[in-house]
């Protein structure tokens, strides 16, 4: 049945670790990972609590297909209340830790309370204990990973941990696993650090079995793998170019947010694109990209492994950055690059290494630097505020110095670590913060892709592309092509993407499969593995249930309809160039109809009838 049917509850205040049975009634309605852990969180905490108080809980959750041979079946998510947004947070990561937790015999780990001193969880199959992390506190993700492997003399340990940025209170710190995969958004790492929990080190050797119909499962997963291999995006584009395949595409359609979203096209895009990562450099004849890499069980392998030019100013006399490491994904390249106006590929790669090394979200970081640069330009921020850094658009030095300061929580880095909303408010320009519900935008300008405006405004974790990636339809034509500049039909499109994605995020599979797969490809795999009779229809319904559960959590936390909006810049200032020239995002044309088809009141509150229909 794919679930291990067991969860581990770790009380950090008391220092106890206890196994308990998984609530199977909930599993049959919410699947696993995002859905099921959100249900647990909503049932167990008061949504109004301070996210950084011991009353918050943090859940690491796998899906039923995590640890199986289903392609991409290695995902896990971290679910908690976000300190950045005050909403429910769910950050998804690949790598290898999800499979290891499952192999240790657990579907999820719930952390509650706060430890009086720094600790880490050491989990080896049924044996779970909290050990002192005093020697790890103050160490980076990379140092922590190495120390834990050495201390336990076990090269096969899988580790998820927080870096120094999280310890120092950076509000967009993530939980990094396997050195450079991350549950990166919404500050889930900040919550982990607030609990004095430095790391989770896991070794699981039990195996993942309990497949409902193993023969059918192997058949279904093999069929689905052939679909991925034969698709031009998942079979060729992503392995060769990574998500960076999008850089030039999005720039051409005029949806590349540039210089704090003042513009929608970046003149330096081709210098920081996937294509640029393949060009051999002068110094050592090697390209930026060393190889592509897979997360656990992934037959796509979109991950980037890169090196920095050994002669680049950022790494002179710093051997620790000279080896291969996690390279630029599109979101990082955009936020660190086009949004700050920096087109130095090596500087971006270095900043990305630093984000991995000390565990903070490159999207939120890059956007916050961009906001600081705009405030510097208009004189709202001065050198006296920045500690002498010339925060000019296009300055690679400013970007890389800012990354180093946020990593360690030093100087002006302490202010950048609060995110764009708080930074802009502090310096008197809240209108310059490109955020929704306090979370920074990802790489698609909603003036050029209208559906993404509604996506951002209604996302349950603040501005986010991964909640309903209508770019697929509006730009790439998957599964059907819609006009990116049109608003008609977008509420229906956004709702369908939101519900389907919530379901996929609850299976243990990667959402990138949906470039090739629809729920028609996914449901047979879930159904063969799990009890419950799963079809694409029942998965859509589970997705809708999850969406409404998250929405209700946010409303109970105190958010209202007024939070379902976009910054004025995107609603009032028209795009200056490209196919969307002259357009703003027409959110007002989409939002009321979206509420209506969601079965919500005109104030955006799910009606009793809707909640009853879905059995939330």
């Amino acid at each position: 049945m794919a679930w291990t049917k067991k969860i581990l509850r770790v009380n950090l205040t008391d220092g106890t670790c206890k196994a308990e049975p998984l609530n199977m009634d909930w599993a049959l309605k919410y699947l696993g990972q995002r859905g099921l852990a959100s249900k647990y969180l909503a049932e167990e905490i008061n949504p109004k609590i301070d996210a950084l108080s011991p009353a918050n809980k943090l859940i690491m959750a796998t899906g039923p297909l995590t640890g199986t041979m289903a392609a991409t079946g290695g995902r896990y998510s971290v679910i908690t209340k976000s300190p950045l947004t005050g909403t429910i947070a769910c950050s998804n990561s690949g790598g290898f830790i999800g499979n290891e937790i499952k192999n240790a015999g657990f579907d999820m780990i719930i952390f509650e309370g706060r430890s009086p001193t720094p600790v880490y969880l050491y989990l080896e199959n049924d044996s779970a204990e909290l050990l002192s992390a005093t020697a790890l506190w103050g160490k980076s993700v990379w140092e922590t990973d190495e120390l834990l492997h050495t201390m336990h003399q076990d090269p096969l340990l899988r580790i998820a941990c927080v870096g120094r940025s999280a310890e120092q209170g950076c509000l967009y710190a993530g939980v990094v696993n396997d050195l450079h995969r991350a549950a990166g958004r919404s500050g889930v790492g900040t919550v982990m650090a607030s609990k004095n929990l430095k790391a989770v080190a896991v070794r699981g050797t039990k195996g993942v079995g309990n497949i409902r119909d193993a023969k059918q499962f192997m058949k279904a997963t093999q069929t689905a793998k052939r679909v991925l291999a034969g698709n031009p995006v998942t079979g060729e584009g992503l392995p060769k170019m990574g998500t960076q395949v999008l850089m030039n595409v999005i720039n051409e359609v005029g949806a590349m947010p540039t210089r704090n979203m003042r513009e929608v096209q970046f003149e330096g895009a081709n210098r920081i694109s996937a294509e640029a990562m393949h060009i051999p450099r002068e110094s050592d004849g090697k390209p930026n990209l060393t190889t592509n890499a897979a997360c656990f069980g992934c037959t796509i392998a979109c991950g980037r492994i890169s090196t920095i030019d050994p002669k680049h100013y950022t790494i002179v006399n710093k051997p620790e950055y000279m080896g291969a490491n996690g390279g630029l994904e599109f979101e990082a390249a955009w936020a660190l690059g086009s949004d700050t106006g920096v087109d130095d590929l090596d500087a971006l790669t270095y900043a990305n290494f630093i984000c991995n090394e000390d565990g903070f979200d490159p999207i939120s970081f890059g956007s916050t630097v961009a906001a600081a640069m705009e405030m510097y330009e208009i004189g709202a921020l001065t050198k006296a505020d920045t500690g002498g850094i010339e925060m000019k658009f296009g300055s690679a030095e400013a970007l890389t110095r800012a990354a180093e300061l946020v990593a360690k929580g030093e100087g002006f880095g302490r202010e950048l670590a609060l995110g764009s909303k708080r930074l802009c408010e502090k310096y008197g320009h809240p209108e310059l913060s490109m955020t929704v519900k306090g979370q920074e935008f990802p790489a698609y300008d909603p003036r050029g892709i209208q559906g993404m405006g509604l996506t951002y405004a209604t996302s349950n974790r603040g501005a986010c592309h991964l909640r309903s990636y209508t770019v697929s339809s509006e730009i790439l034509g998957v599964p059907i092509k819609t006009d990116p500049l049109e608003t008609d039909g977008k509420p229906e499109l956004v709702k369908a993407f939101q519900d389907a994605t919530a379901a996929v995020d609850s299976t243990g599979l990667c959402v990138f499969t949906t470039f090739a797969w629809t729920l028609e490809d996914i449901a047979p795999q879930v159904d063969a593995a799990c009890d419950g009779g799963w079809s694409s229809e029942s998965m859509m319904e589970a997705g809708e249930r999850i969406w409404n559960l998250e929405r209700q959590f946010n409303l109970d936390a105190g958010l209202t309809k007024a939070d379902d909006t976009l910054p004025k810049r995107l609603l009032k200032d028209a795009a200056k160039t490209g196919p969307a020239k002259g357009r703003v995002n027409d959110l007002h044309k989409m939002l009321p109809h979206y509420y209506e088809i969601r079965g919500w009141t005109t104030d955006g509150v799910p009606t009793a009838a809707t909640m009853n229909r879905l059995g939330v």
């Binding site: 392609a71 699981g204 079995g209 060393t290």
Partner: protein, 154 residues
């Protein structure tokens, strides 16, 4: 004609589908820790390498076994562990110069690659062609061809 596993690290992405396929074939669960093939990550170099038993002709493990629990499968040429005979003394794990015979504490026996009786599950599962099952006498064929191509008139 015997066939052999051909491992091409430059094609490996480190996805571990081979480890899951191997453990599923042999243990009926997805469990990389019980896989007979292992993928190693060389982080600083950004490289991955699958590795397993190469089925030596004069197999150290076979000769070292005091109870003759390791035998040659005449059809495939694989050196196979007969579980019922193996006493778990682990001498073969010491004898193997390559580390590809390992102890399984759950069963109290040793495990090693047996080529799945001639249909290796790892090769079937590998999505990138990093593991293939080819003519044992010509595992160098692809590399020879690549070098030969450099000698043809351009």
């Amino acid at each position: 004609m015997h066939k052999a596993l051909q491992l091409e690290p430059e094609k490996c992405t480190g996805c571990l589908q081979c480890e899951m396929a191997c453990s599923y074939e042999n243990e009926s669960v997805f469990n990389p820790s019980k896989s007979r093939i292992k993928v190693f990550t060389f982080h600083d170099e950004g490289r991955f390498a699958p590795y397993t038993c190469s089925q030596c002709s004069e197999a150290w493990c076979l000769h070292a076994c005091p109870v003759e629990a390791i035998v040659i499968n005449q059809k495939t040429g694989a050196k196979e562990v007969i579980e019922d005979i193996c006493v778990g003394c682990k001498v073969c794990t010491i004898a193997c110069p390559f580390g590809t015979v390992n102890y399984n504490s759950d069963s109290g026996k040793v495990i090693k690659c047996d080529l799945c009786g001639g249909e290796p599950a790892c090769a079937e599962a590998c999505p990138t062609g990093a593991i293939t099952y080819v003519d044992a006498d010509h595992t160098g064929l692809a590399r020879m061809k690549a070098h030969a191509s450099q000698s043809i008139p351009k």
